[in-house]
């Protein structure tokens, strides 16, 4: 079945450094990917998305890279701040008649040290 997994469950960085969070997906038919940020006690918050016809997309301090050849995507956060500390989830959608259902990975806990 389809699964979306993460390479590292935790990531600790110094304030001001760049952070890279990785994610692997298994369904080659997935055509839409989203990164969510979840702070403690809150619901997931949309960060950035990318479609399968793109390999890079940039937002404010965040960049998502998609490598369809190896079914891998990453989230890069520039100049990481303490407010970036949260769990980050990647999610995939599409392929195999999944309509608009998202498949979530387990999440990576990002800790930013001041």
């Amino acid at each position: 079945g389809e699964s979306v997994g993460l390479h590292l469950p935790t990531l600790s960085v110094q304030e001001g450094d760049n952070s890279i969070i990785n994610c692997a997906y298994s369904n080659s038919a997935s055509d839409y990917f989203i990164w969510y940020k979840q702070e403690s006690g809150k619901g997931p918050q949309f960060i950035i998305d990318i479609r399968s016809n793109m390999d890079k997309r940039q937002g404010q301090r965040v960049t998502v890279l998609l490598n369809k050849t190896v079914k891998h995507l990453s989230l890069q956060i520039a100049a990481t701040q303490p407010g970036d500390s949260a769990v980050y989830f990647c999610a995939s959608m599409g392929g195999g008649g999944s309509n608009y259902k998202l498949t979530f990975g387990k999440g990576t806990l990002l800790t930013v040290n001041p």
Binding site: G43, P44, Y100, L102, F104, K106, G107
Partner: protein, 115 residues
């Protein structure tokens, strides 16, 4: 816009009790979803709805029921609570169309403890 709202925020149930988790969105989204999130895990889809009067099962529907009588509301019903249903429940909504409409927006969650 308030976005997606959920009530209650927290609830303790005894085994065998029933309850309804409420979810409302004011974004005129067609699609609504219910997920559960177990500790240290990602979200798993319970049920979803593509519009009023239409619902469908997700990945983990057993023990739950839903209804969608209006565009705004999508309640989740637990009929016979079991300890395995201890989790955090998130409701989400989206326009459901391709492109930016696929983005799902989440509520703050309901924390449920079944003892």
């Amino acid at each position: 816009n308030a976005g997606v709202t959920q009530t209650p925020k927290f609830r303790i149930l005894k085994i065998g009790q029933s309850m309804t988790l409420q979810c409302t969105q004011d974004m005129n989204h067609n699609y609504m979803y219910w997920y559960r999130q177990d500790p240290g895990m990602g979200l798993k889809l319970i049920y979803y709805s593509v519009g009023a009067g239409i619902t469908d099962k997700g990945e983990v529907p057993n023990g739950y029921n839903v209804s969608r009588s209006t565009t705004e509301d999508f309640p989740l019903r637990l009929e016979l609570a079991a300890p395995s249903q201890t989790s955090v429940y998130f409701c989400a909504s989206s326009f459901g169309t391709s492109g930016a409409g696929e983005t799902q927006y989440f509520g703050p969650g309901t924390r449920l403890l079944v003892l």
